[in-house]
Symmetry: C2
Subunit: 318 residues, 2 copies
């Protein structure tokens, strides 16, 4: 059986794992990132992390058929360059070339982390069996990855697949990107928390106050928890939030008409209850309701391993 | 040189033309459509139109390498079926099979007309030289066609590529599709006319009244004409309209990051003045403004021949 290494670069840590061709992680470990240091430091650490997991797994360099790297930001995959990654202080960073100074193999690839996760889900997770699928991650922001005809589609120089920055309310809420009304400004966990806080301020008797106190803060679960206990204000927050997510999902369905839409990220931990609400919205509003094929909305299934498996799958899919 | 036939089905007429492999029309003609009659009547007329143009051009059946058909509505291209076309009374209509009862050749293909036009522009028009391009047609509605990696992308059963039904203002204007706030409800000629009429009602002294009287009606040109003559109310209508078009175009750029966005349809007759306004909006608002590659907005160039050349190019591209 072939083995691959998947490396998942985050703002705080780098995860790396050895993944077999069936998408199973054999062995994994992490190291810290230091965004303030030169990128060559991180690349050296990444390489040493690979050496460590190889040793832990009892495998040699020659046993690895390829290395895939997932990283937030805009990635020019064909050139192995990170054009821009805000939190990591990367700017036109030739990460693949730098990594190859240590790793003496040609099969090293890099992609945006949401694109990697989309590919991982397509090959080994909830996207299996579909031809076109769209992956959405609902976290601090709204990320997206598109698998079209079995391949990542990211547009020119990897600068596409930014569905979070599709405006759904022209002149609406300010977005970090400079526009107003982006999907991310309504459907991210950040937006949900903002809306939860507003509703709490207006409803001093809402259960949300008690639940937030238990968590020690207002997080993305407060409104969902309270809504399940039939709190009126919380139910309105959840209803609005589902509408915002649904609006963007239906937009993407009308554009791509994929086989499946996969939902990942922290908010997807709300599980079936949550997915069913989005599915209901989609069934009602997708274009050509009674004629066009329905699109399944499913929860992404690789969860915490999505980063490593997704990155490794990048090398498998070449 | 190889020759193809392109057939463009419309609500009132069918156009057919013989197109050479360089995308030039050798000969063309039209016949009427009768949407109230059974589709087999139209298909027989279509075939006879093909026979006529072959005869006019002095070519024989054997000289034609393939036939492409463009039709409005949802087209299941792989099966040669028109799933649904509102104005033409088609519903799961096996048009290709019916046509092959007369036309004794295997190379007969069908696609949505906007997808055909997109392919035609990509091969022979303003889309030449790009890898991914997006075609938008601004007319009664807002149509779209996506060329990704040199091929039409239309999603499952051809039910995608409906960018006109991407919501840009949640809870906004009613759209014909049942949702509220679709791009089509803001960026179509229909929407422009609605907005022009509103502005005229509010501004009895506006030049738009005189210009509309000259046209004998309020059409999509009234506001543009008056704006060029510095009419204040008209300039506001145009400014808003550009913003609506720009909003959807930027959304699509953030999603696809294509090489080019091509604008066609009646409104594109406003020409350079109009295209430049959209380009300026796009340059300002596309995601990652200073880092990501700029996307060129250009006017579609095949104009009235887009339907025939686009349909023919469908057969060429197989």
């Amino acid at each position: 059986m072939k083995h691959y290494i998947g490396i998942d670069i985050g703002g705080m840590i780098v995860k790396a794992g050895i993944v077999n061709e069936e998408g199973k992680i054999i062995c994994k470990d992490i190291c810290q990132t230091f965004p303030d240091k030169h990128y060559s430091v991180m690349v050296k650490d990444m390489y040493e992390l690979c050496v460590k997991i190889l040793s832990d797994a009892g495998l040699r360099f020659e046993d690895i058929s390829g290395v895939g790297i997932g990283c937030p930001g805009t990635i020019y995959a064909e050139k192995g360059i990170i054009t821009f990654a805000n939190n990591l202080n990367f700017h036109d960073t030739p990460l693949v070339d730098e990594f190859k100074k240590y790793w003496k193999g040609d099969a090293v690839y890099i992609e945006n982390d949401a694109n990697c996760a989309a590919l991982g889900e397509y090959l080994f997770g909830s996207g299996k069996g579909s031809r076109n699928c769209i992956f959405i991650t609902l976290g601090t922001g709204v990320g997206s990855g598109f698998i079209l005809d079995g391949k990542i589609f990211a547009g020119k120089m990897g600068a596409g697949a930014e569905a979070g920055h599709m405006v759904i309310r022209i002149d609406g809420e300010k977005c970090t990107c400079g526009r107003r009304g982006c999907w991310e400004a309504y459907a991210s966990a950040t937006a949900l928390i903002r809306d939860t806080q507003k509703a709490m301020a207006k409803n001093p008797d809402s259960l949300m106050h008690k639940i937030a106190a238990q968590y020690g803060k207002v997080n993305g679960r407060v409104a969902f928890d309270a809504a399940k206990q039939n709190d009126k204000a919380a139910k309105q927050v959840v209803k609005r939030y589902i509408k915002y997510i649904g609006c963007g999902v239906v937009n993407l369905i009308n554009i791509f008409r994929p086989d499946k839409v996969l939902i990942g990220g922290g908010i997807s931990n709300e599980g079936d209850y949550f997915i069913k609400l989005i599915q209901r919205y989609v069934n009602r509003y997708h274009y050509g309701g009674k004629i066009n094929p329905r699109v399944k909305v499913v929860r992404a299934s690789l969860l915490n391993d999505a980063g490593i498996i997704g990155a490794a799958s990048l090398a498998m899919n070449k």
